[in-house]
Amino acid sequence: MTTGKLTGPLCHAHKKRMTWGITGRMIAMAALVTGGLSGCITLEAPDKPIIIELNINITQEVIYRLAEDAGNTIDDNADIF
């Protein structure tokens, strides 16, 4: 039930850690090895679009509380629904 909610942010956080864990360390080591010849750290943009789930904070409790009113709102505004 919560899979849909959690997959996005968790995966994202995981990826982020991985990136810093491996790539970050490698860049730091490379910088040490080259004796600070290169002072730039390049960050590559991910090839997939970053999707920010804005609806994540909406709880089921709130949705259930609003459901009846929202149903009436749809009925009362049938021309735009």
């Binding site: 949705i63 009113d69 929202a70 009925d75 049938a78 021309d79 629904f81």
Partner: protein
Amino acid sequence: MTRSKLFAKLGLAAGGAVALALMAAPATAQRDPAYAAARADGTVGEKMDGYLGIVAEAGEQVRDMVADINIRRRAVYAERAQAEGATLEEYAFTAGCLAIARTVPGEYYQAPDGSWQQRTNAAPRRDPRCP
């Protein structure tokens, strides 16, 4: 005598019908034919967030219509959300749950993975939080 009574009755009946029609008019305002057609032919669909989305390539008229409907939906959501002590997004999302549930076979809706799905006779795929 009988005739005048009959006319009086008819007059009352007609008056009642007119009054009923006037009272019922705002509540039964139906979809604009262009909107109904766009829903039926799959040009537009119901999104999870409570707004109308464009499914297939649409002309300027359809895009304007969708924008107009969404502005009006947003206004209604904002008003009701405030009355219910909820956020606009919470209210809109709830309405989206219901609007998707109310789609009829052939119409399009947005599934939890974000893809457009054509409604069949089966229940639509909705967010697990939907009532």
